[in-house]
């Protein structure tokens, strides 16, 4: 087996607030092969977005990566000087955000914004930057790409705007794209289109994808493998089909049960009782224990790793 594209070991990202140290990412480890699509699933506040930002070295103060290692093609990213990280961002590792209306600058033309992204990594003159931008827009399925370069973001529909953001991420044909809920702000029909196209583009270019989402259904149609995050930790991981068919962790089970099923209209959705715990005051032991139907006295201790690296869960009482 070749070396993975990305190898994250025991990543810890902390926010030092007045109320104390908030451990948003608390010892996360995973690997990603070249061209692989990885789903990163969890509720709001589970640390999935912070994990994504950590990969690009874009954690805003007061947050910082407190420990662990992120190895990208054998190069250690934790502790890399900001200038070196900037060279990687956009060129080798790109990112797409949730709301394209907020990410694109409303007062610059799409072409101007794309030219800035091209020229951030050399990219030659304005002419060459424009050509590259037009080709990238055409590749994500924006019709009449050359004229659309002179349009402003508000002149695009929501779906088209997200395509522009994707085109910016694809400009330098990066090895890895971190996508932070990029379809959440879109209409359902557009979501499906964008998902299919992202998958095709990633396959075509051999780009690896970390797809962050709260939506298991989205991830299941896209990803090869899935990581389930809860309270800053990965509580379950494995190939997407196995995790969906036979989840090991009660939390994953809960997430699956709360998906609306097509075949049973009118039925009440199952919910996971309670809400995500405050990361400032985590109880000792398993953080999911207060909401878990299988919890008992043992859960006051830190949960053990069940299974192997390829198919694991962090639980005292895994489902089998």
């Amino acid at each position: 087996m070749t070396a993975p594209l990305l190898d994250v070991r025991d990543l810890r990202t902390e926010f030092h607030t007045r109320a104390g140290v908030l451990r948003a990412v608390n010892g996360v480890s995973f690997t990603l092969a070249r061209g692989e699509i990885l789903g990163l699933v969890g509720e709001s506040g589970s640390g999935k977005s912070v994990t994504g930002f950590s990969l690009l070295g874009l954690v805003d103060p007061p947050g910082r990566i407190a420990g662990g290692s992120i190895s990208f093609e054998g190069q250690e990213l934790v502790g890399l000087p900001p200038a070196r990280l900037r060279e990687l961002r956009g060129k080798r590792i790109a990112m797409i955000f949730q709301d394209p209306a907020a990410t694109l600058n409303p007062v610059l033309t799409v072409g101007a914004q794309m030219a800035l992204a091209v020229q951030a990594h050399g990219g030659g003159g304005d002419r060459a930057a424009r050509d590259l931008a037009a080709r990238s827009l055409a590749r994500v399925g924006i019709p009449d790409a050359v004229t659309r370069l002179d349009a402003y973001p508000h002149e695009f529909s929501g779906g088209m705007r997200q395509r522009v953001a994707i085109a910016i991420a694809l400009l330098h044909q990066p090895d890895l794209i971190v996508a932070d809920e990029p379809t959440t702000a879109l209409d359902v029909s557009i979501q499906a289109q964008i998902l299919a196209e992202m998958k095709a583009l990633a396959r075509e270019n051999g780009t690896a994808l970390v797809w962050i989402s709260h939506d298991l259904a989205t991830v299941s149609s896209l990803a090869d493998r899935v990581l389930v995050m809860y309270a800053g930790r990965i509580v379950e991981s494995g190939p997407v089909a196995q995790v969906l068919r036979a989840p090991l962790h009660p939390y994953t089970r809960g997430l699956l049960d709360s998906l609306p099923a097509m075949g049973r209209p009118g039925e009440m959705l199952a919910q996971i009782p309670g809400s995500t715990p405050s990361l400032l005051s985590l109880p000792p032991g398993c953080p999911f224990a207060p909401r878990c139907p299988r919890a008992d006295a043992a859960c006051a201790q830190d949960p053990p790793v069940v299974g192997t690296e390829g198919r694991m869960a962090l639980c005292h009482h895994p489902l089998t």
Partner: protein, 324 residues
């Protein structure tokens, strides 16, 4: 865009009409200019003749009509005191005020905006805290006092810069300008600096608040994720995003400095329109007061129009709304 322009021009014309009526009535109410114009021992005949000569025996509405008719032809009347056309008198003084006001708002913008952006970019830095503390001083210390201290320091004690007047001027476009000669520039330095302090403080605060907000936005995060350098982000993204409130304040400050630089002009004996209006109020020189106020209203309306057009140039979303 054309429709937007026509609509704004009509609005401007209405504002001007209302202003001219208000100014005319207001000034009419503040006393009889004849008492100032002729000596108290003049005969009744001379008095009556003078009143007729100035049209002051006519009813108020007729006087306003005559005034308005002349105004439309660009005739603001003759000064009672100097006996030359008001327009000539004001235009003769206006360049001095224009260059003073422009110099002070430009200092405010070109020094204040970069400082404010820096303070917003590094809100916790020691330098940023220093900038913000200085901006509080700029707001709260009275202009006339700073002017006196500037004269005391740079003109009296150090002797580096002159304390008053315009110095050597060059005639361009039929008016004298100080900023085109080294001597004039030296004369301009202190009053312009004095007037700019308040604007500087305002620009710093506005730019800082805008920058702090924009730096947390997804636009900046996305630009960083694309590998843009911080310098490029500040210059190309942030500056454009915070421009609209800055342009608004720039326009308003320019207008109000043009109209009301009175204190600074007095302290530095700067022969601008501010000094002219004070003199004409003391002398009850009614045509000058009315003419001056109408011109000020005209300047304000023009500046606001230009600012509105600048909005459309800065924010493409407004262009579309204006077209619709």
């Amino acid at each position: 865009m054309l429709g937007f322009l026509i609509q704004r021009l009509l609005q401007a014309a209405l504002v001007m009409l209302a202003m001219s009526a208000l100014v005319f009535l207001g000034v009419y109410a503040i006393g009889n200019p004849i008492d100032v114009l002729i000596s108290p021992d003049a005969t009744q005949d001379i008095r009556a003749a003078t009143i007729r000569a100035y049209g002051l025996d006519r009813p108020l509405w007729e006087q306003y009509g005559v005034f308005l008719g002349r105004l439309l032809r660009g005739d603001l009347g003759r000064s009672f005191v100097f006996n030359i056309p008001v327009l000539e008198l004001v235009l003769d003084r206006l360049p001095a005020t224009l260059e003073l006001a422009l110099a002070s708002v430009l200092i405010g913008a070109f020094v204040g905006v970069p400082l404010g952006i820096y303070a917003g970019y590094r809100p916790d830095g020691a330098l940023s805290r220093g900038i913000m503390a200085a901006s509080v001083l700029g707001f709260s210390v009275p202009t006339f006092w700073v002017g006196l201290i500037l004269i005391l320091t740079f003109a009296v004690n150090l002797g580096w810069l002159p304390a008053g007047n315009r110095g050597e001027t060059v005639r361009v476009l039929g008016a004298g300008w100080s900023f085109l000669t080294w001597d004039g520039l030296q004369h301009l330095a202190l009053p312009a600096l004095n007037l700019s302090l308040f604007k500087l403080a305002m620009m710093i605060r506005l730019a800082r608040a805008g920058t702090r907000e924009v730096m947390l936005s997804d636009t900046v995060k996305f630009a960083r994720a694309a590998g843009l350098s911080e310098w490029t982000i500040l210059r190309r993204h942030v500056l454009r995003l915070i421009a609209i409130p800055l342009v608004t304040v720039f326009g308003l400050e320019f207008g109000s400095t043009l109209a009301f630089a009175v204190v600074t002009e007095t302290i530095f004996s700067w022969p601008g329109v501010g000094k002219l209006i004070i003199e004409s109020i003391t002398a009850l020189d009614r045509p000058v007061m009315v003419g001056y106020l109408v011109l000020v209203a005209f300047l304000f309306v023009t500046i606001n129009l230009v600012v509105d057009l600048a909005y459309a140039a800065l924010d493409p979303r407004l262009r579309r709304r204006a077209r619709a």
